[in-house]
């Protein structure tokens, strides 16, 4: 409970950089951790794409090293492991640590005017738990029979010992459990910090929208990660202790058996909120960035918060749309369809407010602004195609095709990733005291958004044409051979997309150590985090600031020659 006190800076290397309880250090640990995993998951995606465009031919460069038994060719089992681990890594070890771990830790205390999180030790524990989860997941790649092949959703009976032998799947479940525990610790810490440690004068409606997004994400984390924890416990028991919670009677030697669909319920009760867990922080960041770089107050601040709240509530009651083809009562299916459709209403309110925020603003097209605009574009594409999947009659045909793959990549992957990129370019100067190259940043943006759009829009077409997901070799089915050229286009664009990320990696690493020194407030914004010196002192605020203005008071007519005002100053009467 020391977020409101000043503590002396630790002097030993271990306490300062490794086992630090300082939220700023933990934020950077999460950032590096997440970026490295994004790289690993990204390389896996490249290998998946290689196999889909050139089925059965050896992977160039790294193939011989990774698949020596087959002379560099990805065998079917390895292909299954690749798409399973790609999904798991990107969601749990890539996006979650970067968006929630890194920017949650960085933004919350600095933006609300606190000296640290309210429970610094719990904060450190949260990072080391996710690190342990990552280690367990990574280790599972090297056990006999390799990592799990059951898909990132881990549906039984594929994920029970009936479907997957070896320790891979068990270790996967342990890793997911640990990562979930880490998110719960973070969530409890974030919520309590936001409630208790806001600087004097900072009303709920004075918080930057970034903090709001992280707050709602934390609520979902606390409420729904435990459910997948229970699901994983039961799966581990089935695999280790020989119970049959998920193993149906038909494939058991005994007379009585369990219910594989039970797992689907437990998984999606968590799984649907999870997509909003990933997108809500990105939405909050985008809403702030649009206002900051349009030099206009965020349009409809309270309505935006209300819409995010509505999404948070609704996200808990729509999970059934993942199970339309599993089979459920028609009435239940229709209810889930209706509720899913209703979620698009607050979604559209957010779009309306974002577009109104930039409407007639004096746009400063920095890299982070471009990525914020990019989120509007890719989430728009993903959201509109979601309507076909929410509708039972069309979902029955599109379920488990590349249409779904394109849809969820645009919404929860690309949008969340764009939010993370926008935030990285934006907060980098305060985090590391140096500027990232805008020139390379813009190049990165354009070389990302164009191929990315091609990659996932081609998937819509091939999915609409009936191409199923998770197939090892689509050319083995006659009706898919005419669609193979689409796979080639997707793969070529994906390689371009992957190569473009190297520009980001180079920009990040070069700027971290050799970039030009950043001034205290290079973006000229009024939130508390930019009012402090760079680098941020160990105790953040020497004196806890008193908040007098909202976070988005731009271009106020009475401000004279400057178009922004710090949150600590009163607006001129």
């Amino acid at each position: 409970m020391s977020g409101d006190h000043i503590h002396p800076e630790p002097t030993s290397f271990l306490k300062k950089h490794v086992f630090s309880v300082d939220h700023k250090v933990i934020a950077k640990q999460f950032l590096w951790f997440g970026l490295i995993w994004l790289l690993v998951g990204g390389v896996m995606a490249m290998m998946i794409r290689w196999q889909l465009a050139n089925p059965g031919s050896p992977v160039p460069v790294i193939g011989g090293l990774l698949f020596p038994r087959t002379g560099g060719v990805i065998d079917p089992a390895s292909y299954n492991m690749l798409f399973t681990m790609h999904g798991t890594i990107m969601i749990f070890l890539g996006l979650t640590p970067v968006l929630i771990g890194a920017f949650g830790n960085w933004c919350i205390p600095l933006m609300i005017g606190a000296r640290d999180m309210i429970f610094p030790l719990l904060n450190m524990l949260s990072f080391w738990t996710v690190a342990l989860g990552g280690a367990v997941g990574f280790y599972s790649l090297f056990v006999p029979l390799g990592a799990t092949e059951a898909g990132w959703t881990g549906y039984p009976t594929l994920s029970t010992t009936v479907g997957t032998q070896g320790d891979g799947e068990t270790l996967w479940a342990v890793a997911v459990f640990l990562i979930g525990a880490s998110s719960i610790m973070g969530g409890i810490n974030y919520i309590t910090t936001i409630i208790r440690l806001r600087a004097p004068g900072m009303k709920w409606s004075d918080m930057p929208l970034t903090v709001w997004g992280l707050f709602f994400t934390a609520v979902l984390n606390v409420l729904f990660l435990p459910v997948i924890g229970s699901a994983m416990l039961l799966l581990i028991m089935d695999r280790v202790f020989g119970t049959s919670f998920y193993v149906p009677a038909s494939i058991m030697s005994g007379a009585s058996g369990g219910d594989p669909i039970l797992y689907q319920h437990l998984f999606w009760i968590f799984g649907h909120p999870e997509v909003y867990i990933l997108i809500l922080p990105a939405w909050g960041i985008v809403a702030d960035l649009l206002s900051f770089f349009a030099r206009k107050p965020a349009f409809g601040y309270k309505v935006t918060v209300g819409a995010m709240f509505a999404v948070t509530v609704l996200s808990a009651v729509v999970y059934g749309h993942h199970m339309f083809t599993t089979g459920m009562y028609a009435m239940l299916g229709e209810s889930f369809m209706l509720l899913t459709m209703i979620i698009s209403v607050p979604g559209e309110i957010l779009f309306f407010n974002w577009l109104h925020t930039i409407w007639r603003g004096s746009l400063r097209l920095t890299t982070s602004m471009l990525f914020a605009l990019g989120v509007i574009f890719v989430f728009g594409l993903g959201g509109l195609t979601g309507l076909y999947l929410a509708t039972i009659s069309t979902d029955i045909f599109l379920h488990d095709t590349y249409f779904v793959v394109g849809h969820f990549h645009l919404t929860m992957a690309a949008s969340a990733l764009f939010g993370a990129f926008g935030a990285t370019y934006f907060f980098f100067p305060k985090m590391f005291g140096r500027m990232m190259s805008e020139k390379l940043g813009k190049l990165h943006f354009w070389l990302t958004i164009v191929p990315l759009t091609v990659v996932f829009c081609t998937m819509f077409i091939s999915g609409y044409g009936g191409m199923p997901r998770r197939y090892y070799d689509h050319t083995s089915a006659d009706y898919l051979v005419p669609l193979q050229h689409l796979n080639t286009i997707t793969t070529h664009s994906a390689f371009l997309l992957g190569a473009a990320q190297l520009i980001f990696a180079w920009n990040f690493i070069r700027s971290r150590w050799w970039g030009p020194k950043a001034s205290d407030n290079p973006w000229e914004v009024g939130t508390l985090d930019w009012q402090m010196p760079t680098p941020v002192p160990h105790y953040n605020f020497k004196e806890i600031p008193v908040v007098k203005t909202g976070p988005h008071e731009f271009s106020h007519p009475k401000l004279g020659d400057r178009d922004w005002i710090p949150q600590t100053e009163e607006l001129p009467a």
Binding site: I118, F119, I195, V222, V227, S230, A255
Partner: protein, 222 residues
């Protein structure tokens, strides 16, 4: 020493002057401490964990045709006694918090000990129950009753749910013991908000009891 360091030292001295004078008032959360809010969050997430397990139990039982009558196998009397003991330990927990608020150290220590005793008795009864059930053929993976195989999920769900709860009681007893140590040192009876840690362990303990009422109803009685 640079000027920045000098300022930092100055700040540190200033900060130690006015250390922790309680909590500031909040429009929505009153004077709830961070610890209290966090404990409620923890209870919410723990409730969802139990929710997941109980949902699994409910679905598995509803969709099976050969579920035995729980009372015939598990018996009610012994567990009803354990339930009564656990509820009584919630009462003694309330007494401990009240004593701490009244700065009555002896009372706090005494009631905490009674609560710990209640928790330990519950665990003892659970251990006795488990060993007997295992001896009679109800194990985690397979279940037989009077030599005849019955639905394996009966034993699996029973041990999963009551075992998960038993872990909570164990954790609660350890937590209570830590608080007891502090209470013996007089840490929580200094007036002001100093009773807060006793209140927090109380919240957790009441939650563990409340969940048991649900578990007892669903697993034993229904």
């Amino acid at each position: 020493m640079s000027t920045a360091d000098a300022t930092a030292d100055q700040v540190l001295e200033d900060a130690h002057g006015h250390h922790d004078d309680g909590v500031t008032e909040d429009a929505h959360f009153g004077k709830a401490t961070g610890g209290k809010i966090a404990m409620w969050m923890f209870i919410a997430q723990d409730g969802m964990s139990f929710g997941g397990l109980l949902l699994a139990y409910g679905l598995l039982r509803i969709f099976s045709t050969d579920w035995p009558v729980p009372a015939e196998i598990l018996g009610i009397t012994l567990t009803a006694t354990a339930t009564f003991i656990l509820i009584c330990s919630s009462v003694s927990m309330v007494m401990a918090v009240e004593a701490a608020k009244e700065q009555n150290q002896a009372g706090t220590v005494r009631w905490l000990m009674v609560t710990i005793l209640g928790g330990l008795s519950f665990l003892g009864i659970q251990y006795y129950e488990y060993t007997h059930l295992v001896a009679e053929g109800i194990t985690f993976a397979t279940s037989t009753w009077h030599g005849e195989p019955i639905n394996n999920l009966f034993g699996s769900t029973f041990y999963a749910v009551t075992g998960f709860h038993g872990l909570h009681v164990t954790a609660g007893v350890i937590y209570l013991m830590c608080i007891l140590k502090g209470a013996m040192a007089g840490k929580y009876t200094k007036g002001g908000m100093s009773y807060s840690p006793v209140e927090l362990v109380g919240l957790f303990w009441h939650f563990v009891d409340l969940v048991w009422i649900l578990v007892f109803t669903f697993i034993y009685l229904l």
